[in-house]
């Protein structure tokens, strides 16, 4: 009963934020945007028992059409690759972004399915100056009997609103965590080596998803 009520409240919140974002062309402030993304995803994951069992493909499909638009994958890729980004040709950069994007969306989907069961997200108080263009929105994942995990979202202001460019889980950036391994791969096998490594990884995961 309590769970049901909580879902209804969440649904109401999501419906409200959807309406309010339609009604005003103004971009959502960063903390509201994070709230919207996480709550929409939470509601979507919990309404489908298949998803809770770990079927990420449906969640990815849904996310592509909705929340993913608020992520800046170009910047995420630059951050992950680091200094070597500048030695990649524009075509290589495009491929890197494309492959890394696939990898990240899958990771976010897995992470979200992993954390959504019996857990709640707490949004910590958020303050920002009007002219700030780069902010961190802090949240906590709460689970009865477990220590809370802090999840921080870094956002930057773009032309059409705020975009998430980093997600930091318990102090571990899901983006810059790749930097050492990407650097190592580029130093050993070049930029094309890294593109191939990412593409192979994505292909393997897609095959595994199909098989299961």
């Amino acid at each position: 009963m309590i769970r049901f009520l909580r879902h209804m409240i969440l649904l109401a919140c999501v419906a409200f934020s959807a309406i309010s974002s339609m009604a005003f062309a103004n971009p959502l402030p960063p903390d509201q945007l994070v709230k919207q993304i996480t709550q929409e995803t939470y509601v979507y994951v919990n309404q489908d028992p298949l998803l809770q069992k770990g079927d990420t493909s449906k969640l990815i499909e849904w996310a592509e059409k909705s929340v993913v638009n608020s992520f800046d994958f170009q910047r995420m890729t630059r951050l992950a690759v680091g200094k070597d980004w500048r030695q990649a040709t524009p075509e290589q950069q495009k491929q890197l972004v494309q492959e890394f994007r696939t990898l990240l969306i899958r990771t976010f989907a897995n992470a979200f399915i992993g954390i959504s069961k019996h857990q709640t997200l707490e949004y910590l108080p958020f303050k920002m100056q009007d002219d700030q263009k780069d902010v961190i929105v802090k949240t906590l994942i709460l689970k009865p009997g477990k220590k809370p995990v802090d999840v921080n979202f870094s956002l930057e202001k773009g032309a059409e609103g705020w975009y998430v460019y980093d997600v930091v889980l318990a102090g571990v950036s899901l983006i810059t965590n790749y930097r050492e391994s990407f650097t190592q791969e580029i130093r050993t096998n070049g930029v094309d080596g890294l593109i191939k490594q990412l593409a192979d990884k994505n292909r393997q995961a897609a095959q595994k998803a199909k098989a299961s």
Partner: protein
């Protein structure tokens, strides 16, 4: 000297020897300044992965299958309650009085109202569990981390955290109350299997996210430890700038 401490010491001395010998023998093409023992570390990592696959994981899976979830939560809570004592001690050693009050408060509440730690009554009342250990304390006291160091069976560590881990065990109520080595290591084993079973959700995320599992876990470990020592503040000197915005630097 308690038997368990002696075992730990022998174990550590053995580790240092193995590390020294194989670390010197391996030369890497690309050398990561933060992981000078990469050759040795990757070797131990591979052994750990294999041991996990044939021993720890199947045992944890059987454990998860046989023991119902409510019981597994009780097991988690009991060990969590014991670890809260070590967390509180380290809060004090770092001069964090308020945090120590929270963490020792948890022990008092959960040991009494929570029936010897079976239930996390304190957590449900908003006295959240935190993280702390001797490795963090040594770090805050200014001890350098030393090279990254993969421990057999236990996984990612560094020199500082290896000593920290030994101190954690020595200070744990478990090793003070349970003096019989067999009983101690049985409890330790149950905790290991239970912890391993709790890791199943994270495992899938890592398997599908990592292009190179070794370095993914290594760098996550380093980021996480730095974050704990710096209490959430970005560690000084960590290069997180955007390459597109910093063409003049470096």
């Amino acid at each position: 000297m308690r038997p368990s401490n002696l075992t730990v010491k022998r174990f550590l001395v053995g580790l240092m020897l193995v590390a020294g010998l194989s670390g010197a023998a391996v030369a890497e093409e690309y050398e990561n300044p933060r992981d000078p023992w990469e050759g040795y570390n990757r070797g131990v990592f591979a052994v750990n992965e294999a041991l996990d696959m044939v021993i720890a994981k199947p045992i944890a899976q059987a454990y998860e299958f046989i023991i119902p979830e409510p019981i597994r939560i009780l097991v988690t809570n009991v060990f969590s309650n014991i670890s809260d004592v070590v967390i509180g001690i380290n809060d004090l050693l770092q001069g964090r009085g308020e945090q120590a009050f929270n963490d020792f408060g948890r022990v008092v509440i959960n040991t009494t109202l929570g029936f010897g730690g079976l239930f996390d009554v304190a957590g449900n009342a908003g006295w959240y569990k935190s993280t702390n250990d001797f490795g963090v304390t040594f770090g805050r006291w200014g001890a350098p981390s030393g090279p990254y160091f993969v421990l057999p069976i236990l996984g990612p560590s560094n020199i500082r955290d290896t000593f920290g881990w030994a101190a954690d065990i020595a200070a744990s109520p478990l090793s003070i109350v349970v003096t019989d080595p067999t009983a101690f290591w049985t409890a330790w084993g149950v905790n290991y299997v239970n912890t391993r079973a709790n890791l199943f959700p994270a495992e899938k995320i890592i398997e599908e996210a990592a292009t190179d599992k070794y370095s993914y876990l290594r760098d996550a470990f380093m980021q996480n430890r730095l974050n704990l020592i710096n209490e959430g503040a970005p560690p000084p000197g960590l290069d997180v700038e955007d390459p597109a915005e910093s063409d003049d630097k470096k």
